[in-house]
Symmetry: C2
Subunit: 276 residues, 2 copies
């Protein structure tokens, strides 16, 4: 069995980790570093042009562990909800075009002015049902990523693996979860819910929780610099049967985004081997 | 049945909401505003002197809805864990002296350098068992307050009402929970777990979740200024049988702490009536 933490062939770089780079720079930079997998955000794919992006990625033999991100479903009116679904269908097409293994979905938070989180959760569930046939037709599985509860209001009302697993079990084929250490490490049920997710784990993201954390969104840590027992979570993911990539996703405005991206990749490689 | 949101006799002010005030100023300020209940933090009780504090509080006929706070149990070595227990025993004595209805407990996070959150949770459980006989003897119930998961590393590894309820059910008489809207509002199981807590609800804290939130600890909102459906949570707490006070606890370095505390109390009274 391949060891997720020591096989560089299973390391993937999420584009937000090296935010300054275009898709071409990401592909070429990863190739230089001996990294064979990426997970781009939609903006850099669109900036590149989807066809050209697909060609670039194929040309370098890169695996695409996911496209980040669809979702953001809840909205205050029906027209906005339809617009969100349409945008997600475009995201599915983009994911298919670049051969992404999944489309990562961030549910979305409360519609502007709303305090009805149960209602937002219902909207997410309905949107997933509406989107699933398109995802199946395009053979792009939807990876529901629960976000940390501190994002419940403004980014994602799916905040636990239990919620994501429940949605997956209801949706069936074509739906899975993205397990991100930053979002799930604190959960007393993390071990049980990772086991429950089992073959539905479509993506596995690593990073760290810094103490102190100076910004809710943009102060994630490099693996090894924070409080998360990454080895323990990797063991859970492996026990659940996951054999895919380990994707580094770090949003870090004041530290990693200010550094030379080539250096960031070197640190990712080293930490992937030593602490993940 | 008294309506928790409209009866000023059931409004309590947590001292951190008006951080600039000493205990004497808090007691006198609340009396001026027609507020008959407070929940002081230990520092201002100690600054006042416990006996003098008790006399002041009695003299104004104030109800003490809780003493904030004990807990902070996990530590890297046995001596530090014993020191934490000793400090909690002093907190129980202080709570008894001022006639507090409960001692609010914040569990504590990871010991310095540790990434073992399961281990920290075991330490909390063991500390609670060790402390319970003292709490029972002093007739000061322990109110376990789950903190928002964003505090799991540095403040509290008890992060859901489910965890707190489980601890209470194991501990039995003398242990209960503090339900704070800021910490529980995002939880998909909040309704179920508030119902489960039932008569174990020893304290009910209100405030709001701001969008955006600029600081993890010190940017809580005044009721009505954020994303929490406070009425819905009050209804849950009432359905669970709670008939106690509604305690305003707001940590707000850049807004409410910079204002005249008398003005803050006026806003608390108004929002308690209109949005809680």
């Amino acid at each position: 069995m391949r060891d997720l933490s020591h096989d560089r062939a299973l390391l993937s770089i999420n584009s937000i980790t090296v935010k300054a780079w275009s898709l071409q720079q990401l592909v070429e930079g990863c190739a230089r570093a001996g990294i064979a997998a990426i997970s781009p955000w939609r903006d850099i794919v669109q900036d590149c042009g989807v066809e050209r992006a697909a060609k670039l990625i194929r040309g370098h033999g890169m695996t695409v562990t996911g496209l980040c991100r669809g979702g953001m479903f809840p909205a205050a009116d029906a027209a906005s909800r339809r617009a969100a679904l349409d945008d997600n269908r475009r995201a599915i097409d983009e994911a298919a075009a670049i051969g992404a293994q999944c489309l990562v979905l961030v549910a979305g938070g409360l519609p502007k002015g709303s305090r009805d989180i149960a209602g937002a959760r219902t909207q997410v569930r309905e949107a997933l049902h509406a989107l699933l046939p398109d995802a199946r037709a395009a053979r792009v599985p939807l990876a529901i990523e629960p976000l940390h509860p501190m994002f419940a209001a403004d980014r994602a009302c799916v905040n636990t693996l239990a919620q994501a697993n429940e949605l997956c079990e209801e949706l069936g084929e074509g739906a899975g979860v993205a397990v991100d250490t930053y979002h799930v490490w604190w959960d007393p049920n993390v071990e049980k819910e990772i086991a429950r997710a089992g073959k539905n784990i479509l993506a596995y993201h690593v990073n760290d929780w810094l103490v102190p954390t100076s910004d809710l969104l943009l102060d994630r840590g490099m693996m090894g610099d924070g409080a998360i027992d990454l080895r323990a979570i990797r063991a859970m993911v492996e026990r659940a049967g996951y054999r895919g990539h380990c994707e580094v996703e770090i949003l870090s405005a004041k530290n990693w985004w200010t550094r030379d991206p080539d250096e960031v990749l070197r640190v990712c490689i080293e930490r992937h081997q030593t602490v993940v």
